[in-house]
Structure formats: structure tokens, C-alpha cells
Symmetry: C3
Subunit: 268 residues, 3 copies
């Protein structure tokens, strides 16, 4: 019993994901393959980095996670195999593992270049099918990660320049929208811990959230704690601050876009 | 061998569905998980109610069906486990089971509140991952439904105010569009049996369908029984009247929307 | 261990694909079901023909491939079972197998009409659920293809009038866009072999690609071999010429549509 997850920007309108699964099953017919999502915005490494980091712990240890958001496919960018916290990750060396490497303990980091485990013919445009899938199938069948290639030097890891929330001169905590989900919820890069810390500094004050000119007072426990069609701020399921509309679409309501700022302040 | 189906409004652009599957497989690695759909319009309980009712019989008895269209997540709305016609259903008590309860025989109805079976940390915004998924995994491994909590009183069931077709003063049978499918087919709430009964009242007359100002005469056997790009009325695969365009998109053709009326009359 | 692939134009917003899987698993609980894609444009037989042809070889021999793009559902169009190169294909007799039949060796071609293997009630609008799915489940359990019906006469095969690239009077090689993928890559019907042959005729000349008034010189090895946001021509993962934008969307950039011409010439 072995689980392989797939996280890509391939979408579902083409045969790309299906072919990866065909290749995996040709090697490991017993693999259980789970789609995390294939709707990462094309080439959006930041969103992929957040998604894999908040996802992998919900799978059993031993799971092989394949992350293919890979604008450099066919170039000389390396492919990495990473063993971390009992899970294995396959991804291009393009920064998509940046957040993960910060949060978990690295057990091994390997440069995948043993072409014995690739498909016989490797295209220049679809390594998901020709390299990642057959490697994932071998790993899920029990191949040792060190068979894939030499150790990779941490110094050569590409790191994403991830925007972090920061304290403004006025004392506001300023974050940004990282992702707008299916419901239109605005997911920020402000995590629960730093928000708690920010509030504890002035426990007698009220918390105020601002997006554009819109203000929201107080943190709600859940979507249904305000009236339908009303805005709210809530800690979402990834552990980050979200701006939402109960039974509505905050993305449309605020005409918000990825990258827009969200400001947090204490008042009263 | 156990099957779990998922029916949600989570969409597929986020990791939400993938995480539910990770949690299920962490508990029951042998579960076969099937997506019915995740594209229910956000918070559309009516569409979810129709979909689960016309879907479950195509799965083997013993299947666990998880229905998460749940605008009240984190509030005090109850979570229900329902055994009906040899299948098990997990859903919030928000009316999404209304149609199912009318059509099948209830074997058990339980209030899911034994938190021993939840994830250790339960978020306020994603019970699909934190409660529904682990419960589904336990049920598919054979846990007795009564271990989940006490019997739930039928009187406390939330019921959806579902629009029913009705007879107008002029003697027209008036229904509404419940759903517009991928092909643009307009699926109504007029079922085959009531349509048959309506027609049999005047067997020598012709049947006429009206949507807005457009008229369609006669019921077609299938899409291909009219010319390409022509409108038709047909009994769809759910057993309900559909208005369609052969090789076309009736939603666009008629500028139709969910809730629009469809009128049936006898003529000639 | 048996694999069934599904390739349809059903989309994923309705329960249609889920019900096919429920029916398959009711018959063969051990089947592994893989979605190739369900986002074929409605009724687009050409795209389905290309997709199944460039997909099936990535699955193990013995796989059952179910292709349901079927505008004639419920009419008297036949349903075919085809054994070819060690794989089995189920599809309507509407041309969707045209390309496959050209490229592989036919082992058997059978007219599926033994209704013993259909669902008890067969609708007029959803043979995917009522005929294709139960037949696929039987085949994956080992049923002999000849149990499904008599041999089908090749003369009665419907053939798609597929556009082929051709040489213009000016000596240009003229192809067309067959599909625009998730990334906006423009996939043409010009395959690598004919392109090679065309170039070898004048090896000292440079190759030039034209789409509308836009010109691209030279064939790139991969997307990343030009600057971000720049156009390129490349052999895609299906083995056909693609026009792409590195880290961009060629469909939007060129306002391109399926059917638009792509012209190849030799210059200098």
C-alpha cells in the first residue's frame, strides 16, 4: 500500500495528469494516486509552495508527493528528491520547496539524475510524464531515494523570494493575499501565531482588518458567525488569516486580486 | 473493499478535496474514494440534494456517501449519519438530505458528536477534513454508525423548501430549472411520472413545452432525434424533463438560468 | 489488477463521471479507474481522436479505454469494442477511433449489442452510465471481447474527415491548430516526422513558422530556451508542433482559435 500525491499547474482539460497516472501504474500497479490539485495558476510557484506545505501532513508518513510546477522544464534546472518528516517530495529546483524546507526536518536531499529510472524517451516539454511519474512509481515501490542520484548541496537550492508580513511605521501589521480560493475567500500570508502575538501586545484593544478602504472589526470564529453576505475575518483551515463573505464571494465583493495588501491594526 | 463517495461544493482549484482523501486514507488505506462532483455551486443545497438522490443507487450497498455543502460549518448545526436503503450518508443537518429522506427507507439516523473519531485539532472552517473525512474512514473500515453518537430526532431535521411543479389556473403544468449541466442542458424538477400522468389525462392531445417565449412540441426520445442546433424536450438521465439543443447549449440558446420556469401544456 | 481509463466530454460539474465509476465498481470492485480527461470540448470528436491516440501507450497492456464523446447517444449509431496493440477500446462508431485505427494493429473489432451486459434500465441520453460503464467493468474482470457481440464490418466504420497538413503552391507546409491546452499552447496537426522531412529537403535553410502575421524563426528545444513572455515553436509532448509563449499564454497572445492555420517555410 503506497500513496502518491500529485500537485501541478497542469489543469484537467488535457491528458497530462492522466498520462502521469498511466506511467505510475505501469510501474507500481498498487499505488493509490491522489490529486491535491492541478489548478495551481500556471507557473505560480508561491501558491504551489504554500499548498504543499499545508497539505502533506494530512497524508500518512511514507507518502510520495510529486510537485510539478515547472516553467524550466527541459532546461538545466535540477530535479530534487527530498525526504522530510517521513515523507518524500519530488520537485524541480525552482523554489517550490522553500516553505517546506523551513518548516520540516530534512532527512535527505538528492539530485535526481539517474536516467535508468526515467522513461526510455524523455521529451523536452513534459518531465511530469517522462521523469517525475516513473520516479514516483519506483519510490512508492520501495526504491531507496539515494538510488536516484548524488546528494544535492543545500547551497544550490533555489529559494523563492516570499513576501512576508511586516510592521509598518504606523504600527500596522501588513500582509498580502496569497491565494483566492474557490469560494472567493482571500487567503493571506499572515499566520495565526504572528496574529496572536500582535494582538497580545495590546490585549485591551480591538483588532481591525483593512482591505482597500473596507474595514472589518474583530476576528470571527467561523463564516456563519456574521450575517449572510457580510464580510468577516477568520483563521482559515491552513492556519492563515482569511477575509471572507458569509455565503458570498469576497474576491468579487472586494474586487481583490492576488498580491493585494491586507492591513491589521489595533484600535479603541 | 469499501467505497466512499464525495459530493461537495469545494471545487478542484484548492487542496480541500485532496486533504479529505489524505485523512481518509490515513485511517482506511484500502478505501476506494470516488468523486461524485465538487462543482456544486457554492452553498447550493438544492442542487446537492438532487444530485445525491439521483446518484447513490449507482453505487454498491455499503457505500459511504459524504455530502459536504456546509455554509454553517463551525456553527452549532449538527452533523448527521444516515443509514438508508443499505447505504450510509454523512451530511450537515441543513436540508441537503431532504429529497433522499423522501425516497428511501431510513434505517438509522444518528447525531455525529463523538469527537473521539474527529481529527485531534478541529478547525472552525473545514469540517470536511477534520470531521467528515475521519468519520468516513472509520465507517468504511466497519465502525458501527451508532458509535458516532445518539439517535437524532426526526423532528429536528432541517428540511429544504423545495419548489415543486404545480398546476396553474389555465391548466398548465409549471416547473422550474433546477440545474444547467456541462452541456447546457436545462434540467427541471418535473419528473417522468408526473409528466406521464399529466399527458395521460388527455391522450389525444399533443404536448407543448414553453420556456420564456420559445415553444417546443412533443417529447423526443434522445438528443439526436432532432436536427443539430435544434431545441428539444427529453427525459434526462436523472428521470426528469430536460430542455436541450442537439449538439448545442440550451443554457446559452435560451439565456436560461436556474430558477427559470418551464411550462407544459396540452394542445390541438 | 485491472485499469480502466475514461475519456469524455462530460466535464466535472455534474455527477455523470462519478456514476460511471459507481457502475464500474459495482461490477469490478478491484478496478483502478483513471480519468484521462473529461474536458474534451462538447462533441469535439477530433480532439478526442487525437487525445486517445497519444495517451493509450502510456498505460499498461490490458487496459480498457472508454471513450464517450457521443452526440448520437440513443440513436442507432453502433457501440464498438476494439482490441488493438494489446489494449481494449470502447467507443461509439462516430469516427472517434479514426486516428487510432491508422496507427495500431487491429486484433478484434466487435459490435457491442449483447444487452445482457448493460444496466437493466438503459436511458436514451446516458449510455456512458448504462452501457459503456457496465461493459468496461466486465472487460476489466476478464470477459472476452467476443461475448459483447458479433464482429463489426470495417466497411461500416465511420471515419472522421481529419484535416491534414499540406504543401501549398508556394512551397509552404500548412497545418492547423487542433487544440489549445491549459497553458495556452497551440497544438498543431504537424507531426515531428513530417516536419523533419520538410526541413531535410533544404538543410542549409532556416525554418520559419507563421501564425497570422506573426513570425517565429527556428525550432526551440523547450519552453525555457527563449526569454519569458517570448514566442517559440517546439515539438510538444504528443510529438506535434506547438506554438507557445515561455511563461505565457499563446492562445491569448495570438488571439488564436482551434482551426487557425500555422504555416511553415524555409528561408535564407
Amino acid at each position: 500500500m503506497s500513496i502518491i500525491t500529485l500537485l501541478t499547474d497542469f489543469g484537467t482539460k488535457d491528458e497530462y495528469v492522466g498520462l502521469m497516472k498511466g506511467v505510475i501504474l505501469s510501474i507500481d500497479p498498487d499505488a493509490t494516486i491522489i490529486d491535491i490539485t492541478h489548478q495551481i495558476d500556471p507557473q505560480d510557484l508561491v501558491q504551489a509552495a504554500y499548498t504543499i506545505t499545508s497539505s502533506y501532513t494530512y497524508f500518512p508518513k511514507g507518502t510520495v508527493h510529486v510537485v510539478v510546477v515547472d516553467p524550466g522544464v527541459g532546461s538545466d534546472r535540477a530535479i530534487l528528491a527530498l525526504a522530510l518528516e517521513g515523507h518524500i517530495f519530488l520537485a524541480p529546483n525552482n523554489g517550490v520547496l522553500t516553505l517546506l524546507l523551513r518548516e520540516g526536518r530534512v532527512e535527505s536531499l538528492v539530485h535526481v539524475d539517474n536516467s535508468d529510472f526515467f522513461l526510455e524517451t524523455v521529451s523536452q516539454t513534459f518531465h511530469g510524464r517522462d521523469i517525475f511519474a516513473p520516479i514516483a512509481g519506483r519510490l512508492s515501490k520501495g526504491l531507496d531515494i539515494h538510488a536516484l542520484g548524488d546528494q544535492f548541496n543545500h547551497k544550490n537550492l533555489v529559494s523563492l523570494p516570499l513576501r512576508q508580513p511586516y510592521l509598518s511605521e504606523k504600527g500596522e501589521w501588513i500582509g498580502a493575499i496569497v491565494w483566492i480560493d474557490r469560494f472567493g475567500n482571500l487567503i493571506t500570508n499572515i499566520d495565526q501565531n504572528s496574529l496572536d502575538k500582535f494582538c497580545r501586545a495590546n490585549p485591551q484593544k480591538k483588532i481591525l482588518f483593512q482591505i482597500g478602504d473596507h474595514k472589518i472589526t474583530g476576528l470571527s470564529r467561523n463564516y456563519a458567525s456574521v450575517k449572510a453576505q457580510s464580510p468577516l475575518a477568520v483563521i482559515g483551515s491552513r492556519g492563515y488569516l482569511e477575509i471572507a463573505i458569509n455565503c458570498g464571494d469576497a474576491g468579487k465583493y472586494f474586487s481583490a486580486q492576488k498580491g493585494d495588501l491586507v492591513r491589521v491594526s489595533l484600535t479603541g
